[in-house]
Amino acid sequence: MPSTELSSKDDVIIVKLANGYNLGISLVNAYVEVVKENYINVGSSEGEGATTFVGGQGDRLISIVSTGGTIVSRVEYETGAVRPALTAENLIDLVPELKEMGSIEVVDLYRILSENMTPKHWTSISKAVYEKIVGGADAVIVAHGTDTLPYTSSALAFALRNLPLPIVLVGSQRSSDRPSSDSALNLLASVIVALNAPFGEVVVAMHGSISDNYVLVNRGVKVRKVHSSRRDAFQSVNDIPLAKVIFPDKKLIVINSRYLGRCRVEDLILMPNFEERVAIIKAYPGLSPEIIDFLVDKGFKGIVLEGTGLGHVNEAVIPSIKRAVEVGVVVVMATQTIFGRVNMNVYTTGRKLLMTGVLPASDMLVETAYVKLSWLLANFNDLTEVKNLFMKNLVYEINEVHEDYIYPRWYHGDKL
């Protein structure tokens, strides 16, 4: 067996027994005889960029852009190697019901873990999706790793405007080789949403609870991964989900009346560029102004402050922020509390920051504010326009009304 990064020392060989078990045997004082040599190609990048196709019922075409991540990864039982590739055939093998909904086309665009995504990747994913839409696909789905999924969903939401159909991003929290994987249900729901939903928005479809009873359709600019491992980690923040798909009935229920409807294909706009020199700085007790100075000196064009509470940083940092704004860096303020809205009029520090020219991000998530700023800086030359557009609601990334029920509830000693 190939040794893995997990093996503790070099002096152990892994042996696979006939019953399928692996075990490690020390080579110290061991007699080893090579009976036969055999090589297995592990983790090859063969076939990357390829498009595969499986015909199904009806005349609808379902396009799936695969970018990598848990949802397309499978452990090979012979070697234990992770294969992060997706073909249409694999997909049908996993979710045979998809064939009943149409023909399946899979574009193996990337095989990367989502922590390695960069704004450049957002650009090419936007372009790939654009091509699929204008190419006539009836449904477009993007399979993506979960860690940075909300960044990509925000990016697509700004880059692809006047959508004629929903773009559904889907991931999974349990890899597809597990019988308990959430990927099959999430994928099924994605196709149902992509084909049938009335909205023309970028959405994220993931489990809504830890049961297999419904999948949530969250607005791409309002969704956050709020748990490191649960399958219901993706939840809408400062908004409610657009819809849910109930299982086993496969029924789509729209639960939010505030959404962008489907547009005509001719009106679709692609603005796929993103500025890479934008940074997120989290405020914390003791945050040093040098960090801001460093970014400014390095030529960064935008800074997203992840402030405390209503949108604050310690006063010692304010002079550096002032300097940043003066040299033309766009500085915006979101909150690290996750829930709630920034309001910089309540306390002195907030007012001082407003006076230096820091822009409040309203109730935008830090991630969304970051992507939005990056997109604005890459697509608009006029700083005033960038600033105006940042504070303007473009794709429902800002929700002006927070009703009480949209805030989650925790366990407070009541009945389970």
């Binding site: 892994i14 075990l23 490690g24 499978r74 093998d93 349990r174 049961s211 490191s228 649960r230």
Partner: protein, 640 residues
């Protein structure tokens, strides 16, 4: 039926699963105790398991796939016993080192060779008993042996694995599991198929069980040890039998399985003699019309719901479905198992048992007529229910009957309470095993080995000899103690109370005969833990209660474990000699006339009255001596 087991070529292998007594589970820090609280502390989670078609191993993939797709799994999640790890909502934490040490200690006791690095694997299990769809398991040692009077039994592998969830209900469309048991560390000891007689299987299973108990670190009580056996005979098949929780019936299970295989071979020979071929096993037809005016309540209620009756002719099979294969189980029962497992219907009806069930001679005749079957030679099997279920059930029955023409089909079976078995599922092909990539391999270094040495069980034969020679227990009591779950408690208590009036014999009899006595009265002795025994024996040592009081206190404690022991013993606190004498003198004084009149029975009368007051507080012998003394003074001399 007397069976010569060496002539039939019996071979039996054992697979023993024993829960380890650790403070937390194998891959998370939840407790290893089962939930006993109320329903309001239980949440529910509903799941479906799926498996990619290419990953199903050698089991008929389509069938398995369909089966899984329609089955809802409901998990009960009791508060305080289950975390995100069991729910498959968080990756497993590091392998429990305590469990590993105990399991390695046990492996050493079997002279099994310990691996240098432990790799946890995922074994695909699709029945829902694991939330992940796989069981985490690791080989920790290979080889080894166990001595038996009929020769050495080879150990093949020793694994450390997580226990599965506890099945609560099993319905055709859903199954309910409690997650409290999921993740409790289990050791699995697999022997080679080296056992040749039912008695030997019982002996070996007992010896392995005893060795496990001798570590002092295995859990006790129902369900904490489970054995699977595989049984084969010449011309038969290797049959896996799962879920034997009661060790004492393991020999019976073997006997019944041999009986079953021999009987299936008889059925095969009879069918061959009658010239039955595959094509004599008919196709499935709708015979609902035959039963339109039928008086059977089962059929009528089904027809009312729009269900149908389906039939299949088994040509030249007449009488064979009534052939008994195990006590109380006929060949027809075996077919019904298949109908139930594959079709989710309650069972089958066949003409070997008709007329009956409200189905009259007329309908049977009509059934044979429409199916063009011979009433003197053929059997007709019918099933009732919704079309899809009936078709699945009947296809499974037809498949099983065809197997009967070839002998004993390979099956996984599950044991019934009486030692017979029923069909559970087809035998899985080579299990799909994947590396558990979430858990780093564990190197077995000197530190781990040193820790494991603490748990190496002693040789049972040496323990027996020690009980007899060093502690002077009778051979019978020694054997009883070794068979009981309490051998470790014996040593614990012995150490604590050596040198006091509490003798090894007393402890041994308390832990065996006396506790068994309480149990047979229906007292819940599982409430009596080692701590309670220790506390009560300490009271005896300190002279606060008498030995006679111990079992009374234990009874009351077991019936109400919440009561403080101080309250329980109040009734049994030892009276000093002076008090006792005073009490006896009082009894004698107040019954003076009667005692003189019934001189011959005086001792018994006084003893009876005195013990009513003193039982458990003063030893009977002491009371008797005092009674004699006081009566002597009154009567001059005492008879008896």
């Amino acid at each position: 039926m007397e069976i010569n087991y060496s002539e039939v070529g019996l071979q039996v292998g054992l697979e023993i699963h024993q829960q380890l007594d650790t403070s937390s589970k194998l891959f998370c820090r939840c407790p290893t105790k089962l939930f006993e609280g109320s329903e309001e502390d239980v949440a529910k989670v509903e799941r479906y398991l799926r498996i990619a078609r290419s990953e199903t191993g050698e089991v008929d993939p389509a069938a398995l796939y369909e089966y899984m797709k329609r089955r809802k799994i409901i998990y009960l999640v009791p508060k305080g016993h289950v975390c995100n790890v069991e729910l498959d909502e968080e990756p497993p934490q590091e392998l429990n080192k305590e469990a590993l040490s105990i399991a390695l200690g046990i492996s050493m006791g079997f002279k099994s060779k310990i691996v240098d690095e432990v790799y946890v694997m995922r074994k695909i299990v699709v029945d829902g008993s694991n939330t992940t769809g796989f069981q985490r398991t690791a080989i920790i040692a290979l080889g080894g042996e166990l001595l038996d009077e009929e020769g050495a039994i080879r150990i093949q592998t020793i694994c450390l694995e997580e226990d599965a969830a506890r099945k609560v209900r099993d319905l055709s469309s859903s199954v309910v599991y409690n997650l409290d048991r999921l993740g409790i560390p289990l050791i699995e000891i697999s022997t080679a198929p080296d056992m040749r007689s039912p008695e030997q299987v019982l002996r070996v299973a007992s010896r392995i069980g005893l060795m496990l108990r001798l570590t002092g670190r295995v859990r006790r009580g129902l369900g904490t040890i489970r054995q699977d056996i595989n049984v084969s005979i010449k011309g038969g098949a290797k049959i896996e039998i799962k879920g034997i929780q009661n060790l004492e019936i393991v020999d019976k299970v073997v006997r019944y399985e041999v009986m079953r295989q021999l009987n299936l071979l008889k059925i095969m020979n009879e069918a061959i003699m009658r010239g039955v071929k595959d094509e004599d096993i008919g196709s499935i037809s709708d015979v609902t019309d035959v039963f339109k005016n039928c008086r059977s309540r089962l059929i009528l209620s089904n027809l009312k719901e729009g269900n149908k009756v389906y039939a299949c002719v088994l040509r030249r099979f007449k009488g064979l479905l009534n052939f008994e294969v195990q006590p109380g189980r006929r060949f027809g029962t075996e077919l019904a198992d298949y109908a139930r497992e594959w079709g989710g219907i309650t069972g089958i009806i066949h003409t070997d048992e008709l007329p009956g069930y409200g189905i009259g001679v007329e309908e049977v005749r009509e059934l044979y007529r429409v199916l063009n079957a011979d009433g003197g030679e053929d059997v007709v099997v019918i099933v009732v229910g919704p079309e899809d279920k009936c078709v699945r059930a009947m296809s499974a029955v037809v498949g099983r009957v065809k197997e009967a023409l070839r002998g004993v089909p390979k099956e996984t079976r599950v044991v019934n309470d009486d030692g017979t078995t029923r069909y559970m599922r087809p035998q899985p092909g080579a299990a799909r095993m994947y590396p558990e990539t979430d858990i780093p391999p564990v190197r077995i270094d000197e530190g781990v080995i040193k820790e494991a040495l603490k748990y190496v069980p002693r040789d049972p034969t040496a323990v027996y000899e020690e009980l007899v020679s060093k502690y002077s227990l009778s051979p019978e009591l020694s054997k009883q103690l070794l068979r009981s779950p309490h051998i470790i408690q014996f040593y614990d208590l012995l150490k604590e109370f050596s040198g006091s009036e509490i003798t090894p014999q007393y402890i041994a009899s308390l832990l065996t005969v006396q506790l068994k006595g309480l149990k047979s009265e229906g007292v819940p002795i599982e409430n009596i833990g080692i701590e309670v025994l220790r506390e009560i024996l300490a009271l005896v040592r300190d002279g606060r209660i008498s030995k006679d009081g111990v079992i009374e206190v234990l009874r009351e404690y077991a019936l109400d474990p919440k009561k403080p022991i101080d309250d329980l013993i109040r009734k049994y606190v030892r009276r000093d000699l002076e008090e006792t004498t005073k009490l006896i003198v009082n009894i004698v004084e107040s019954n003076r006339d009667e005692l003189i009149r019934k001189r011959d029975k005086a001792f018994n009368i006084v003893m009876g009255l005195a013990m009513k007051e003193l039982r458990g507080r003063v030893d009977g012998k002491v009371v008797a001596d005092l009674v004699r003394k006081v009566l002597n003074e009154l009567l001059g001399s005492t008879p008896a």
